[in-house]
């Protein structure tokens, strides 16, 4: 450590702490606490858990004892608490403010649902206990399945997919299995709109299909002429998000369903935006053959910083026989879990397989059912209406200063492009980062790909009018500032976040994906 003429250290005492500031001795600033990695803080001989004595009896592990030090540091309980609480404070969260990530549906997560999932009868049961000892859990899965089938007007739902993309895989595998059962070996082309989520094409490829992009028309919807031209005997399916990723309802959806069916293909609907229409439209009435439902979006199970999700997938009569194992079914007064393909076949099914160990994300099922029962059929419908109203309110309030990507009203999310920033020197990215300085999480940026510099804003139904007004005032202020020549406010943003802009190029060019002990070079100059 060198000193300057004032006798102050020229860099903080704890420069290695993540995000350590240079101008304080501690590296922290007030409530913004610098925090090192546990590998720099903990020790391998420290533990925060008390255990009874071990007996030291001889091991029976075939002489395969792990003798070398693993290098896993431990912390005492108070230190552990502080480490993670400090880190938590560097995150934005729904509970902190409006989180307008389009397509991600960041709505309030009721804590009742957390409490229900933690009841010992749900949280503390083993997936392979005798079925006689888990009848309540099987009944819960059956009840949630019933709600999902009624809300979608479909005859079957596979509950085991672990997330949205996993549900897509479930749906597309059923389509592949149905085609195989028909002996259709030539149908491998899947039509995917260019506005689709990246998971759609990635999923199709995992089922042995290849993708053919359908362009959007001038209104942001499927270009029907292009779609019709692409239909043919090699088409397996269309994967269509509805409402689509531009936040628009596909008006021609019934015709799309009819045409794909006439052409011998299936209709996969990406249900990521089901929250916009739940209780008002049943996708089964639109002619879909399969659709996953993100319980972590529409039914508000927490996103948890990147999961867990849950992606139950509903099927039409045409695909129902191919649904994967396991599934629950009624058996007199009770419930049985059908776990094996042979048992499903005895039931008349032709399951394409098993997607996952055990029965799906039960913890998310409990939360989702708790949410759905709380709303009821009337509340769910109201939630969809409020989500759509809130998005349209934002669109209406901002269309004078920002540029909506398409004319007219929207569904649950409002899509803007970057025309209003033209000539300002401010990009969509800069604009998003400036929102951070205003205390907001940015909207989804640069998606969907069909819109230049896209900004996709999804407020959800759990925002009040006052909250929306504050948000719109802020965005209006920012748009006017950009147009008024204050580019610096944007290009240097964020200035008030726990970190400044991160160097993502450096991270990708020379990846550091884990902590490593510092090289043992003497630091005599320090």
């Amino acid at each position: 450590m060198t000193m300057n003429t004032q006798g102050r250290p020229s860099r903080p005492l704890h420069a290695h702490d993540a995000g350590a500031y240079q101008d304080t001795f501690s590296g922290s600033r007030g409530l913004d606490q610098a925090e090192p990695l546990i590998f720099e803080r903990g020790r391998v001989d420290v533990t925060g858990v008390d255990f009874p004595e071990t007996t030291g009896a001889p091991l029976r592990i075939g002489g395969l004892e792990r003798t070398a030090e693993i290098g896993l540091p431990g912390l005492a309980e108070p230190e552990t608490m502080r480490h993670y609480v400090r880190l938590s404070r560097k995150n934005y969260a729904i509970d902190l403010g409006l989180y307008p990530l389009g397509s991600c549906t960041m709505k309030h997560n009721p804590r009742l649902n957390e409490k229900m999932a933690r009841l010992p009868g749900f949280g503390d049961i083993h997936p392979l206990q005798p079925q006689s000892t888990v009848q309540g859990a099987l009944a819960l899965i059956g009840e949630l399945a019933r709600w999902l089938m009624v809300l979608t007007n479909t005859p079957c739902v596979a509950m085991s997919p672990k997330a949205g993309a996993h549900g897509e895989l479930c749906g597309m595998m059923a389509i592949r299995a149905a085609l195989d059962a028909r002996g259709e070996t030539g149908r491998r082309r899947v039509l995917v709109p260019e506005s689709a989520h990246g998971t759609n094409p990635a999923t199709a490829v995992q089922c042995g299909f290849f993708c053919d992009e359908i362009p959007a028309d001038a209104t942001g919807r499927v270009d029907m002429t292009a779609f019709k031209a692409k239909l043919g005997p090699d088409v397996a399916a269309i994967m269509l998000t509805n409402p689509n990723t531009c936040g628009l309802f596909e008006r021609d959806i019934k015709e799309i369903a009819d045409l794909i069916h006439e052409a011998g293909g299936y209709f996969y609907c990406d249900g990521a935006n089901f929250n916009a229409i739940v209780g008002r439209v049943r996708p089964g009435d639109l002619g879909i053959d399969a659709m996953h439902i993100n319980l972590h979006k529409t039914f508000s199970t927490p996103h948890g910083g990147g999961g867990p999700g849950s992606g139950p997938t509903v099927f039409s009569d045409a695909l129902a026989p191919f649904a994967p194992v396991p599934y629950v079914k009624r058996d007199g007064e009770g419930w049985v879990l059908v776990e094996h393909e042979a048992d499903a076949q005895a039931d008349g099914g032709q399951p394409f397989g098993r997607m996952v160990a055990f029965h799906g994300n039960m913890g998310m099922f409990t939360r989702a059912l708790s949410y759905m029962m709380s709303h009821g059929s009337d509340g769910l419908r109201q939630a969809a209406e409020d989500a759509v109203l809130n998005a349209n309110y934002i669109l209406a309030r901002l269309k004078h200063v920002m540029t909506p990507a398409f004319d007219g009203t929207c569904m649950h999310e409002a899509l803007f492009d970057d025309r209003f920033l033209k000539g300002t020197g401010v990009t969509t990215l800069d604009f998003a980062k400036a929102m951070i300085d205003e205390g907001y999480h940015p909207m989804t940026m640069y998606f969907p790909l069909v819109v230049h510099g896209a900004m996709l804003i999804e407020p959800t139904e759990t925002e009040s009018k006052a909250s929306l007004d504050r948000f719109c005032d802020t965005l209006e202020g920012l748009a006017l500032a950009a147009q008024g020549g204050d580019a610096q406010r944007f290009t240097t943003a964020p200035r008030h976040a726990p970190a400044k802009r991160l160097d993502e190029t450096r991270a990708a060019r020379s990846p550091v994906l884990r902590w490593s002990p510092p090289a043992h070079t003497p630091q005599a100059a320090e």
């Binding site: 290695h16 993540a18 990695l37 903990g42 029976r60 075939g62 395969l64 004892e65 290098g71 896993l72 540091p73 431990g74 552990t80 938590s88 560097k90 969260a93 509970d95 309030h108 009742l112 957390e114 049961i125 083993h126 997936p127 000892t133 888990v134 859990a137 009944a139 009840e143 672990k162 997330a163 592949r176 998971t199 995992q206 209780g279 927490p302 948890g304 910083g305 990147g306 042979a342 397989g353 996952v356 055990f358 029965h359 994300n361 913890g363 709380s374 709303h375 009821g376 059929s377 109203l389 349209n392 209406a396 569904m411 964020p494 970190a499 991160l502 991270a507 990846p511 994906l513 884990r514």
Partner: protein, 448 residues
């Protein structure tokens, strides 16, 4: 409705601002035939108390693990999770945040993921780990796909002693990708002969350790045999606590190590959400082919250390149909629970926990071996064993369940029709008391 802040006055004012006469106008694009005029036929809204009553009634119909002498394992294990873990994962900032796409306001999640990745790499004896998969079985399936990409071979050999759910999830994922899966019959207490299957058109050999019957194996000879033919060894574990006592799969030569992290921090939850661990050795080709998210270290504009999601050109949101996997959401919150529990334990605590588990299992094995007609099949085990009973295990388990004892998993539930009807798989952990063992022993004496 308590979760909806808009008042009727707000709604009409907002409709006015939007310039439409009613909410129906905003749904005008919906085809007439598909428009619902009123709520669907499901119950109306319910108060918090009503929901709590209804769901508690369902919960009370289940026998929870803590309410019984409990020996069920086979891929999910009952361990004590410190109260701190559940408190911390319910912090709003962790629970109600999204995937950390905006790193400036997501450093909490990103740093914990970086720590998680490092812990997983250390535990598995590998170099690099990703930010989690859905669970162990999907991690296993994705590892096989990765091995095929890396070796440019389209064949995988699965040990017959791999958890059958893992094998089935792998077969399902490989089914439409022209990957051939070969697997032998299970051998309780031993290992199916794999040497003959290791050929130079095979991408990977998948072996679970300890295996589904609890048997512990030395992976080194298999690694050598595999590597001699350019075959990758994928080591799978379902009980991560075993890594606190047994030599790491990486040190025994595994190229990719995948498994279930449920034992630390997560709890039983009737099978999910769990957390898939995915790790491999450092190799450019491997890292380019990893599925899932990766957190990496970098600096911010002021030169301060920070973390970001990185190498996303592997992923679906960038590469679309060329992505290494379609995975998007993973198991972030469960990864957080895992890493907090691991931090509380530290190496010292993990080693003690592992030893306690092993000692309980040794006691279980000795007690069962002493029962007439009961044979313990494992020569080496960690916290799980398989015994041969003098009659079908499924009936025994049902009879004991009726007495309030959850005795384990009949092998026939996992391998129906495989002739393993008399085998029972039992796990013992630090949560088992001597009284539990007494109850199991007494119960077995009655029903056998």
């Amino acid at each position: 409705m308590r979760y909806l802040p808009l008042t009727p006055e707000d709604r009409s004012a907002m409709l006015g601002a939007v310039g439409v006469p009613s909410i129906d106008a905003l749904f005008a694009d919906v085809p007439d035939a598909a428009r619902l005029d009123g709520p669907v036929n499901l119950p109306r809204r319910a108060t918090e108390l009503e929901v709590e009553r209804a769901l508690s009634a369902l919960a009370s119909r289940n026998l929870s693990a803590s309410a019984a002498p409990f020996f069920v394992g086979a891929g999910a294990y009952k361990h004590h999770v410190p109260a701190t873990v559940d408190h911390l994962i319910q912090r709003s900032e962790f629970l109600t945040s999204y995937t950390p796409y905006q790193p400036e306001i997501s450093q909490g999640t990103l740093q914990t993921l970086f720590e998680f990745q490092t812990q997983v790499a250390l535990l598995t004896g590998t170099d690099v780990a990703n930010a989690s998969m859905y669970d162990g079985s999907t991690a296993c399936a994705e590892a096989v796909l990765m091995a095929c990409r890396v070796t440019k071979r389209q064949r995988a050999v699965l040990s017959g002693n791999l958890h059958p759910h893992y094998a089935e999830a792998t077969r399902t994922l490989a089914k439409y990708m022209d990957i051939e899966i070969e697997a032998a019959a299970p051998v309780a207490g031993g290992l199916d002969a794999l040497d003959a299957a290791i050929k130079d058109d095979v991408a990977c050999l998948v072996v679970q350790n300890p295996d589904v019957f609890g048997q512990v194996h030395d992976l080194r000879p298999l690694a050598q045999a595999a590597h001699a033919k350019g075959v990758l060894l994928i080591a799978v574990f379902t009980e991560v606590v075993s890594l606190g006592l047994i030599e790491s799969p990486g040190a025994m030569g595994a190229d990719i190590v995948v498994g279930e992290g449920q034992s630390l921090g997560v709890g039983l939850q009737f099978g999910g959400p769990y957390v898939g661990l995915f790790a491999c050795r450092e190799d450019r080709n491997f890292i380019r082919n990893l599925p899932g998210r990766l957190a990496g270290e970098t600096v911010d504009a002021d030169g301060r250390r920070g973390f970001v999601l990185t190498l996303s050109t592997r992923e679906q949101h960038i590469r679309r149909d060329k992505a290494t996997s379609n995975i998007c959401t993973n198991s972030g919150l469960m990864a957080l629970a895992f890493t907090i529990h691991m931090t509380l334990l530290g190496e010292k605590g993990l080693r003690t926990l592992a030893r306690l588990n092993h000692e309980r299992a040794c006691e279980l094995a000795d007690r069962l071996a002493a029962l007439p007609g009961v044979q313990v099949l494992n020569s080496a085990f960690f916290n799980e064993i398989t015994v041969r009973l003098p009659k079908p295990a499924a009936g025994v388990v049902e009879e004991l369940a009726a007495k309030g004892i959850l005795a384990g998993v009949p092998a026939s539930r996992l391998f129906p029709g495989a002739g393993l009807d008399d085998l029972l798989i039992l796990a013992a952990t630090e949560t088992n008391t001597h009284a539990d063992l007494d109850a199991l022993e007494a119960g077995l004496k009655e029903v056998l």
